[in-house]
Symmetry: C2
Subunit: 388 residues, 2 copies
Amino acid sequence: MYDFTFYNPTRVIFGRGVFSQLADELARDGVSRVLLLYGGSSVFKTGVYDQITEALRSRGVAYCECPGVKANPVVSKAREAVDIIKSNGLEAVVAIGGGSVIDSAKGIAAAALYDGDIWDFYARKEKIERALPIYAAVTVSATASEANYTSVMTNEELGKKIGLHCELFFPRVAFIDPAAQFTVPERQTISGGIDAICHVLETYFDGAKGLEIQKEYAEGLVRTLIRLIPILRAHPDDYDARAQFAWAAVGALNGTTWAGHPGRGDFASHVMGHAFSAKYDSVHGDTLAVLMPAWMRYVHDRDIKTFARFAERVFGANAESEEERANAGINCLSEFFASLGAPVTLRDLGVPEADLPKLAESAAAGGPIGTLVKLDADAVLEIFKSAY
Amino acid sequence: MYDFTFYNPTRVIFGRGVFSQLADELARDGVSRVLLLYGGSSVFKTGVYDQITEALRSRGVAYCECPGVKANPVVSKAREAVDIIKSNGLEAVVAIGGGSVIDSAKGIAAAALYDGDIWDFYARKEKIERALPIYAAVTVSATASEANYTSVMTNEELGKKIGLHCELFFPRVAFIDPAAQFTVPERQTISGGIDAICHVLETYFDGAKGLEIQKEYAEGLVRTLIRLIPILRAHPDDYDARAQFAWAAVGALNGTTWAGHPGRGDFASHVMGHAFSAKYDSVHGDTLAVLMPAWMRYVHDRDIKTFARFAERVFGANAESEEERANAGINCLSEFFASLGAPVTLRDLGVPEADLPKLAESAAAGGPIGTLVKLDADAVLEIFKSAY
């Protein structure tokens, strides 16, 4: 097992009606002026906005608002939020939404206490020294951003989507009310589920050895998520299924699976997917549904035992040879994604074939990607072509 | 799923040679005077004492020492440590040891900032408002005390062993070096492994419904621990096995398994075992090896589905009826404990049969114990008799 540090100080308050506790937590921390950051109209329709703002008013917590954060959140919106914080002397960022809003809140919280531009952090020009506290009210479970230290931001001028880790990014408190997710659109539930499954698999398949308990966790998470997504499609208001899904999504990327793995896993599929999202605003889960199985096919012979084990433990594959079992597992995963109506090929994503070489260059622009196999732009292009 | 709060801010630094980082962490936190709390001579034999004290001296951190903490740690020793802290103006408690030392450090850290007697907290006469920071250097993995908020203390005058939870008890940093555990005596490895397995099962079998991902975690932990203990008996210096064991023991009681369970699980077996440890200083893992299977037999028909599932998932039981599978699972567990040389009956523990009624009264002195089934003193006695 590789040496590691495990640290995750986020307090998760989970259950029915927990958003009303947000104001209490702010008051307890002595916070009296906050930014409310959110996306579109769903926070109004679900009543989450009313729940939170009523509680804030009753506790005398003042707030300014910055709506309009979109999927694949962009740095221009984040700059707008930073300006609001600075000109109003706000003390904390309250993110109401899913991964895009919470990821944005993290960069914003750091930039609010910095004189330069927020992109400096993502471009690795500047190290984050301070950040405002972040409170996350989750309305869509998928990325676990509410309980981890990762922020992914898109610079739409540069056409780049970049991830950043920082301990100051851990939300101070995350509020998860599964009932608030009954109305999450089916496509978003599916995309979020695929995202969570891929988070687990990218750590699972990084080639690290001697990590039995981490593998057990990972297999349990994937089995659970695979079981839950169809239940949620049929019964979007099944409280227990929503709760299981929300908690499994947290477990998929809160650090539990990657303890003892070098570099937290092999996130080549995510990095490849980001190239498409940055250029075409592709749905994150859609890119993964196509690229994760394609990546698995490309690399599986480098750790055939783990790929065969995955097939056995998750899909009950029992073919005689490891190679057959490994392939069966990849096929089962790909077929499961397809059964959810997710895209199967890059063509389905609406990407012109002629763009693939440039996208491969973009994905590997910072050098070869991945851990199990180091993929340069040529290797990435080969994967893209196999997935077209 | 029940509503819950998950919170675990302990930073775990895991790997080879990590004890030398303890002084750096203290310096980073501005701590310059600490109490070193430890047990017997093993900290010298393993070199852990030297590693830590050399680093402290090189960093200019002053320390006083309180050796002699025993298994089933007693309040008189804790009082001695509190006196040393108060008379020397120490700022933190450094626990070097296993669960007994770390559990003691927690109560001591609170009592050091309190004018009354430490037992007031365990007797629920006083609430803990403040505590010194705790740093844990783990030399025996079992209880996960290094990464949770629980302290169990024995009052030898009153013949009581009582557990206490407090958020201020989370160690600030836990240092786990699997290599420092190569020389843990075989009996202690076994006892610790049984303790960790029972921690998982007491949450697993509390009757809570709709907790698929928690059940998956639990089954993975138990399978892993069952696989590891025999490996460690044969190869006590297998680094990967020690590392897996250490990390699984943390996972067994750091809160991961009990999220969404009411009251964190059904710890009736622990409470019953504490009655024996308080009176006869019985080894904690030995009491569990006897009482956990006896408790399972007594309650299994109240949640036959979960007992059958456990048998299938952990031991591959495939008998036709749920009742048969459930019984097979309990028998397999009991046989596994016996295969490790653990006691099988209360008679093996050396307990006089005539004492059982008093011990049952003592276990249920605070009212009926347990969640799946509420056990009064009569029910506890019935379990004791079945286990004699």
